[in-house]
Amino acid sequence: MNKTALSLGFGSCPRCQKVNKMHNERQQCSRCHYWFHARKPNSIQKTMAWTITALVLFVPANLYPMMVLNTLGKTESSTILQGISAFVQVGHYPIAIIIFIASFIIPLGKIIGLFILIYNVKHKTNINLKRQSHLFHIVEKIGPWSMLDVFVVVVMASVVNLGFLSNIEVAIGASYFALMVIATLMAANSFDPRLLWDNKPLTKEQVYEQ
């Protein structure tokens, strides 16, 4: 009974969500004049490329320091993990957990989740499609939170700026981290969740209909 728009010759505009009759592979939405395809073209390849980029950038983002602390001539630099362990040592567990989730678990979870989704589309595994759809929804929504640590460093650097006495500077790791977050956002953007359902086997009724 449930038929996809594609199988009936329709396509929905990704911007305004209007259902259009597809005359060509690429056509203009009759409502918002946006040029679109029934499915995002080369979605899997693009998602794969962005996800691998994010994975590669994840390494320097964690190896290089996020910020440099200068106090009375002494310099001290810290990476994300060092920052988290400093919190744990002081005893600020809630903050340590928040930063650990935002800057470690979310990006890694997003990258792994996207790899799982790509694998499932490529190998046409039709297990738990609902859950996979749900996974994509989560991956799409949690993305921005991994930017947290960059914002923390930016605010810290801007407030603690007392000249020679003590100041905090942003370091190169933050740039890599921001790039990594952008790559994961682009990856989630270029993935087309409808591809998951396209390989769904026909139900008995649909087979009889045909």
Partner: protein, 205 residues
């Protein structure tokens, strides 16, 4: 075969095509295949969207200009605002991060608020502008790129960090930022895409 596509809606997650159900506000349309939300009609969407987006636009200036927080250390007081954060980053040569902060916390929210306000204003006055569609399309595109909520959490975390080091004072910028955050969240709650798009389509005919 001519089909009226106005009565159809396709699920954005699984592409199942269904007839638009007649539902009243307070109810949700759920996809029969993947159980995701198809659309939710909103009460007084036009007026609410307009009011909230106007409030958000007015808050944009204080939220970026007023000091977020300051510290007392070694007899000195230093405070900073969102815009000063960005200028400091550009002065230090971190153009990429400065660009990210500028886009994600100021430009994207500003464009979304402005689009919502301008669109509802024009629909109410029956003013017809061709680039309204471009604006509204960009609104959909920018949905996942607004990060005021993340920035706000970042400010809270850094407050927590700084309390150990020095005496910290909270500025008026934080209050404006909270209200801006509320406006931007309420905007995405109140806006009714389907209703606005059909109105926009009708006004263009």
């Amino acid at each position: 075969m001519q089909v009226n596509t106005d009565t159809l809606i396709a699920c954005q997650l699984c592409d199942t095509l269904v007839n638009i159900p007649q539902i009243s506000s307070g109810e949700k349309a759920i996809c029969p295949c993947c159980q995701s939300v198809l659309y939710v009609p909103k009460k007084h969407s036009l007026e609410r969207t307009q009011a909230i987006s106007l409030a958000g636009l007015l808050l944009l200036l204080p939220a970026t200009q007023l000091p977020l927080m300051g510290i007392y250390a070694a007899g000195k007081y230093h405070q900073t605002s969102l815009l000063e954060c960005i200028t400091l980053l550009t002065n230090n040569g971190f153009y990429l991060i400065a660009f990210c902060v500028l886009i994600f916390t100021i430009v994207v929210p500003a464009v979304r608020l402005f689009t919502a306000f301008y669109l509802t204003y024009c629909l109410q006055r029956n003013i017809n502008k061709p680039f309204l569609m471009v604006f509204f399309r960009s609104y959909h595109l920018l949905d996942n790129w607004a990060m005021i909520h993340v920035f706000f959490l970042g400010v809270i975390v850094s407050l927590y960090k700084l309390v150990d080091i020095a005496d910290v004072a909270i500025g008026a910028g934080i209050a404006s930022l909270v209200m801006l955050l509320m406006c931007s969240t309420m905007l995405s709650v109140c806006i009714d895409y389907r209703y606005l798009w059909t109105e926009l389509e009708r006004s263009h005919e």
